[in-house]
Amino acid sequence: MIRVLQLIVDNTSGVLSRISGLFSRRGYNIESITAGITADPRYTRITIVTSGDEDILEQIEKQVGKLVDVRDIRVLETHDSVFRELVLIKVKVGDDKRQTLISICEVFRSSIIDITKDSMIIELTGDQSKINAFIEMLSDYEILEIARTGIAGLRRGSEGVIYLND
């Protein structure tokens, strides 16, 4: 089972290693982890995609929630949250196939951000299924490099927003 956790943590040095260290020493999986400052610079928002059975996922939530630096932890449910990931893909492509590739990129609303005689870098933002579908479409090309950011997510609507006053 895959689960997306959203953490609001104190923006202190070493906080990311404390969280990732907990995952590694207790043998929990991290599919992806992203971190960035929130509107309030004292806090960092971390989005972790993890997996496990129900018991493990419950333990993950409790153990992570217990860390002194963690202000808030909640599950981002797929039905009421939005997720986005950014991917950069470098494809080997010459004159002969460039046009077809550009049309695939248009269908996926991706942008071409670098181009050379024999390669192209494509930028795409979307949820993971869109990104996977795009990569699948590129299977006829030689992919030189991929850089994925891991997902960031937010719950929809104004309910359940965490206000950080103190």
């Binding site: 943590v9 104190d10 040095s13 070493g14 290693s17 404390r18 260290g21 907990l22 020493r25 004292r42 018991d55 419950e58 333990q59 409790k62 153990q63 929630g65 217990k66 002194v68 630096d69 963690v70 202000r71 950080l164 103190d166």
Partner: protein
């Protein structure tokens, strides 16, 4: 005022009167500043024992224990002690000196990334890089160590920060942490459910762990169990929650526990687990408990609840506070039939095997010893066969039973006993260890003598690492590997070298008188009991 003065001032403000430590250059500013105060400093002989001593001190005083070491090897030596305290949820402040902050990360002499190394053994850690952070960090550290599920907090302070001037020092009156807010009060509705569960139950059992002692709720447990007549069993860390002769106390559970304690748990229809982890050594197969039993799990750490077994009624909060709320509920129940059944089991417990004539019988020795000890004495058990015997035959009264439960750290008893004695010098403190565990910390005899800390030490000598030998006997068909402890030392000579009175007993004749004599002697004492090398726990 420099940073080191500020740290010392903070310790004073927190009411610290004693600390255990070992110096080195990187912590010298601190040890220089401490001379200006009344805080007593105990020089141990190895840093690990500073943490163990602070642990014994914390457990007996109910305050936070403090230990201090230097950077590099001083800090890394401390780690086993920190991990030991962490496993048993003992509140400690561990202060380590660190190399100059400008040199951090450049592998200079005696640099070790101790905050990184301790990451998984501390409740929290700080590396102070700004001298003005000292008051806040110290305040937070004491707060974190002593609230919620207690535990060690590490503060690493580079030498230049200790030497830097600090202006406008003010120790905060209160702690303000945005992220750390442990639950104290139990959920009222959940607590209410306990009454109903009791009324429905015919065979309830309370399993009490170390958390009951840590939250200072021994009397509350006594009152609650006696109000309804609920039998109580304990984990190893819970030994002493009720006196051994309390009719409602049915002993320690687990592989090395009492068979009737395990039976009580197995047959119960309502199990109330309080401040215990339901760990592997206590319950070999946690699934067995949950099947037909209503399980109430009370713990201050939400992550312990449901970790090993899924409870029917989880309650998170401080145990003492929850007991206070529990006193307000009422339930009509009568468990006298159940008690009769359990008393029947207790009577049927096979008497322990026949003592071996030519040697000291550890079981008999420990029961006489604990009989003769003061009512409020502290008994510190080490790790190994001696620990199993101590758990089985120590008779709790009003005193304390200390041991390294979670980590099982050999060598814990002597330094922890030193700390316990420092916490309250009126208390009789006895450390009981094996010849293996004694040799891991016998260097601390010097600490005892230097600082005049009269602890009684009893060494069970069987010339083996007995518990491992027993395991190899059973598992590897007596193919012994690395377990013989031949090679001495002669403890009479050791005792003489340190100037400690010494008694050796070789069999059971006149044991009572010898124990009496040993305990009555005013100062420190070392007693060696010669055991059958092949004696076993079971």
């Amino acid at each position: 005022m420099i940073g080191a003065d500020a740290i010392v001032k903070c310790l004073e403000k927190e009411g610290v009167t004693t600390l255990f430590g070992y110096p080195g250059v990187a912590i010298c500013p601190f040890f220089n500043s401490i001379l200006e105060t009344k805080i007593e400093t105990i020089l141990v002989r190895s840093e690990q024992n500073a943490a163990h001593a602070a642990s014994g001190y914390a457990r007996v005083s109910g305050k936070v224990g403090v230990c201090v070491a230097t950077s590099g090897p001083g800090a890394t030596n401390l780690i086993t002690g920190i991990a030991t305290a962490y496993a048993d949820s003992i509140p400690l402040i561990c202060i380590t000196g660190q190399v100059d902050s400008k040199l951090l990360g450049s592998d200079v002499f005696q640099e070790a990334d101790v905050t990184g190394a301790c990451e998984s053994f501390v409740k929290y850690s700080y590396l102070i890089k700004d001298v003005s952070d000292i008051p806040r960090v110290m305040k937070e550290a004491f707060h974190i160590a002593s609230t919620g599920r207690k535990g060690p907090v590490l503060i690493d302070i580079p030498i230049d920060i200790q030497n830097r001037q600090i202006t406008g020092f003010k120790y905060p009156d209160s702690v303000h942490m945005r992220t750390y807010k442990p639950t104290v009060k139990g959920h009222a509705m959940q607590i209410g459910k306990i009454g109903k569960a009791l009324e429905k139950s015919r065979k309830p059992v309370i399993l009490a762990g170390g958390g009951v002692i840590l939250s200072g709720a021994r009397k509350n447990l006594h009152d609650f169990s006696h109000k309804y007549g609920i039998p109580v069993v304990s984990t190893m860390m819970g030994i002493g929650v009720l006196p051994g002769d309390d009719p409602l106390y049915y002993g320690m559970i687990g592989n090395n526990g009492r068979s009737y304690a395990n039976l009580a748990m197995k047959e119960s229809d309502l199990l109330i687990v309080i401040g215990a982890r339901i760990a592997d050594r206590a319950i070999s197969s946690p699934d067995l408990v949950a099947k037909n039993t209503v399980l109430i799990h009370i713990d201050v750490d939400p992550a312990e609840i449901g970790k090993n077994v899924g409870p029917t009624i989880p309650i998170v909060g401080d145990i003492k506070s929850i007991f206070e709320d529990l006193a307000g509920i009422s339930a009509k129940c009568d468990f006298s039939e159940w008690i009769k059944t359990l008393d029947g089991y207790r009577r049927k417990e096979p008497s322990r095997k026949k003592p071996r004539r030519k040697y000291v019988d550890p079981a008999g020795f420990i029961s006489i010893l604990s009989d003769k000890m003061d009512d409020n004495a502290v008994y510190v058990a080490d790790v190994g066969q001696n620990q199993m015997w101590s758990c089985s035959y120590y008779k709790a009264k009003k005193g304390r039973f200390l041991t390294s439960g979670g980590m099982g750290t050999m060598g814990y008893s002597v330094p922890a006993a030193i700390g316990a004695k420092k916490a309250d010098k009126r208390l009789q403190v006895v450390a009981v260890c094996g010849d293996g565990s004694f040799q891991m910390s016998m260097n601390e005899l010097a600490t005892m003598m230097q600082h005049k800390i009269p602890v009684k030490i009893i060494v069970f000598n069987n010339g083996y690492l007995g518990l491992v030998r027993e395991y190899q006997h059973n598992t590897y068909n007596a193919n012994y590997s690395m377990v013989s402890l031949s090679g001495g030392p002669d403890l009479a000579c050791i005792a003489e070298a340190y100037g400690i009175p010494f008694i050796r007993i070789t069999d059971n004749t006149g044991m009572e008188d010898k124990i009496d004599e040993f305990l009555k002697e005013k100062g420190a004492g070392l007693m060696e009991c010669m055991l059958d090398p092949l004696d076993t726990v079971k």
